[in-house]
Amino acid sequence: MEEQLKIDFEKLLENSNFSKKNAEIKRKNFDNFIEKGFPNRREENWKFSDLNQIISKNIKNLSFYNDLSKPNKIDQSIYIDGLEHNKIVFVNGRIEKIEFDYEEKNKIEILDDLVLEKSNNTTNSLLFLNNAFVSKYFKLIIKKNYSLQKPLVIYNITNKDLVSKNINLKVDIFLEENSSLKLIEFSNDKSTTNFININYNFNVQKNSILKNYKIDNNSNSNIKYCFNNISQDANSVSEIFLLSSGSEFIKNEINCNLNGKYSSAFVNGVFILNETKHHEIKTNINHIVENTKSYQLIKGVLEDTSKAVYQGKIFVDSKAQKTDGYQLSKAILLNDNTEFNAKPELEIYADDVKCSHGSASGSLNEDSIFYLMSRGLNYKEAKKLLINGFLLDVVEKITDSEIKNLIKNIMSLKQ
């Protein structure tokens, strides 16, 4: 694979006109990736999901260069129905459409072709890969005191033309003071066996609100990694909801720094898995200053031979007194061959804090099924009702009612 990487990297430099400085930084990142390679289970972070193995098992002849010169057709039928929204559409890793029909134009700024920053003190090899191969680097800025009228949907579409490719996307979203954004990331894949590596950086300034809903619902054989870095200023709120269901493998990693007083972060997630799917959610909530709050709720329903992993960490700095941190993960295992692994971690250096976590996994409660069946439901219906109730608990945490209904529809949960 190393040879392929080198050939593809040179091809990328040849075909794109990066500035000298940019090319230099890219090469550095590339060298770092070559040195580290894809992460494997020897890294604590990847203990339960050996990406190196997963990629070599699922993808043959992975290539890294992606020709973005020709536009792709957008399949309009996949647009979300019944919800007025702004759009950014990526097809096979190429941006095809930016449409903010509902907003004041001067309140939103979009920069493309950003130059990578040099100082990047990460050890995450997938970020190195992303930095090395990403061809365009976008930044979306929401101006001061502006709240978007309608939600923004970022469509991430892949079509049949894409096979055994690595796609890298990098998007920065900057919310200036007093602004707010509702963002839905919606992926729809008709492609097979690709490795998609996405990096979001959110900067949420004072008094701003970010609501981020990630929907991965349609079944496909791609391997995905999504790294979300969120830094929050005073009084800001971030709400993240993950529907983790469609892809063969996806790892959503959320690194949230609560840098300002009274800032809070909510992470809610649902795994609905079947067949051989293997999904992971990894969170890292860092309470850096006083009076910050975080809340995490993750639930999963696993069928066939699927596997779900939740690694959640709450870090409390010694300065972060009066922190309130909560974490709960639950899973229902429906088959003999399913697996749920959890690592709910607390790292605490301050004494006046309230932190707790819980984790539970097991089967459906037979007594509850019996009760429902005695009321006339058949076994299948009873099971379905219980599972829906179990998952609804998480969906109900969504604060935006319009989007909540949309997600309920997608998950086919009845009102």
Binding site: K343, P344, L346, I348, D351, K354, G362
Partner: protein, 478 residues
């Protein structure tokens, strides 16, 4: 007031050294030293071969480095691997023949052998440095057929049992420190309880590191045959020294059908001074195998000493209906560090495990609970309950919880809970209002916090442990 407390802290109760001539193997880790140890212990050839196999394996192993407390590199060539009191080279026939100075040391430790023999009804196998010097109550145990002796004696007298079980729970190749122990272990206890016997008394060992620059590598093997029961106590202390000493013991427990083993530890190795200088590195491998159906292994530990504690007493629940329990109190103060917890590996059907862990950190210390609950796909109808609570005193210390939960079985249930808190002002105020000084108040509250675990300890130990909890936290309030 503060200074007074610090002065008090300096005064580690067990910080004396005993002036007894030692026989030492040459410094360093090599074939010759292992041969020397084996020869000094008059071991049969198979034992030496076993050690050599471990030593060969050790060459390919690396020290693990995933733990939270980091430590400076240990120079394994700079350690004496064998040190025995000279007077023990001719084994004394009775306690009265022991070196009086040695007996004096035990007295200071609070375990006067003769006294205990008469009054307490506890059989003590005292390990002084590396050689077991006296074993009491042999007669009474012999009567019911319990074998309680040093491991070196067992190797000579009961080779068939030792051969069968040694390394069956912690294999030679397990990990760096376990393998190191397998190569150079010097002494330890051996217990065999015959079928159907309930051990008539609590068995107890007292370990003590005396000579400087020695590592202590003891090896304990406890086998409870079908339908038997044993409760085993272990206590540890070491004198004050500036350099760090390594303690890498291996403890193996095997419980056959319907057998129960209760293993309690009160660990109070020298924790280093208030600036974090010196102290013991307590890197111990403890593992119990519930081999038979309906067997039960229960670990209880009170960890107050050591500069770094790094251990995970574990249960492998192989037999159907077997039960594993883990009760732990870990207290760190000053610059102490601990990374401790347990592993519950469910293999058999209807297996149950329970984990109660209480961590208390004060001063500049750092405490980590790390635990694994692994339910395999064959362990139908298994249950686990885990509760780990941490108490923080001040904002210079840390308390961390790192549970690993793996469930591969839909018919099993796992529940995990953890909380982190501090002693509330109201509680302190209430106690002080009733006339307790701040330190007594903290002691009382902390003892209440730990009560669930302290209750698991045998009476004699529970009293000592309660006092230790108080002593360990001295100077942490105000």
């Amino acid at each position: 007031m503060r200074e007074k407390q610090i002065d008090k802290l300096k005064d580690y109760k067990y910080g004396f050294t005993t002036d007894i001539e030692n026989i030492r193997a040459p410094k360093g880790l090599n074939k010759e030293v292992i041969e020397f140890i084996s020869k000094a212990k008059k071991e049969p050839k198979w034992m030496l071969d076993w050690r050599m196999k471990a030593f060969e394996r050790l060459k390919n192993l690396k020290e693990p480095n995933w733990q939270k407390p980091k430590y400076p590199k240990i120079d394994y060539q700079d350690i004496y691997y064998y040190s025995a009191p000279k007077s023990a080279s001719e084994t004394p026939k009775s306690i009265d023949e022991l070196d009086p100075k040695l007996l004096e040391t035990y007295k200071k430790l609070g375990i006067p052998l003769q006294e205990q023999q008469r009054l307490n009804g506890i059989a003590v196998d005292a390990v002084f440095d590396s050689v077991s010097v006296a074993t009491t109550f042999k007669d009474k145990l012999n009567e019911v057929g319990v074998i309680f002796c040093s491991i070196s004696e067992a190797i000579q007298k009961h080779p068939e049992i030792v051969k069968k079980y040694l390394g069956s729970v912690i294999p030679l190749t397990d990990h760096y420190f376990a393998t190191l122990n397998s190569a150079v272990f010097t002494d330890g206890s051996f217990v065999y309880i015959p079928p159907g016997v309930k051990c008539p008394m609590e068995l107890s060992t007292y370990f003590r590191i005396n000579a400087s620059q020695t590592g202590q590598f003891e090896r304990t093997l406890i086998i409870a045959d079908k339908g038997s029961y044993v409760s085993y106590l272990e206590g540890c202390t070491a004198p004050m020294r500036d350099e760090n000493q390594l303690h890498a013991a291996n403890v193996e427990l095997v419980a056959l059908d319907n057998a129960e083993i209760k293993y309690s530890t009160v660990q109070n190795w020298y924790p280093g001074d208030e600036n974090g200088k010196g102290g013991i590195y307590n890197f111990v491998t403890k593992r119990g195998l519930c081999k038979g159906t309906n067997s039960k292994i229960s670990w209880t530990q009170v960890e107050t000493g050591s500069a770094i504690t790094w251990k995970y007493p574990s249960c492998v629940l192989q037999g159907d209906n077997s039960i594993g329990e883990f009760y732990s109190i870990a207290i760190t103060n000053n610059y102490q560090k601990a990374d401790t917890g347990t592993k519950m590996i469910h293999l058999g059907k209807n297996t149950k495990s329970k984990i109660i862990s209480k961590g208390i950190s004060a001063g500049f210390s750092d405490m980590t609970y790390r635990g694994l609950v692994d339910i395999s796909s064959k362990a139908k109808n298994s249950r686990n309950y885990t509760q780990c609570d941490s108490l923080l005193m001040g904002n210079k210390c840390g308390a961390h919880t790192v549970p690993y939960i793996k469930n591969k079985n839909p018919e099993s249930n796992i529940a995990h809970e953890a909380t982190t808190s501090k002693i509330s002002e109201e509680q302190l105020h209430y106690c002080q209002q009733r006339g307790l000084n701040p330190e007594e108040a903290v002691g009382l509250i902390v003892n209440g916090f730990c009560k669930e675990v302290l209750q698991q300890l045998p009476m004699e130990f529970a009293v000592e442990a309660q006092k230790l909890v108080g002593i360990s936290l001295e100077g942490s309030v105000g």
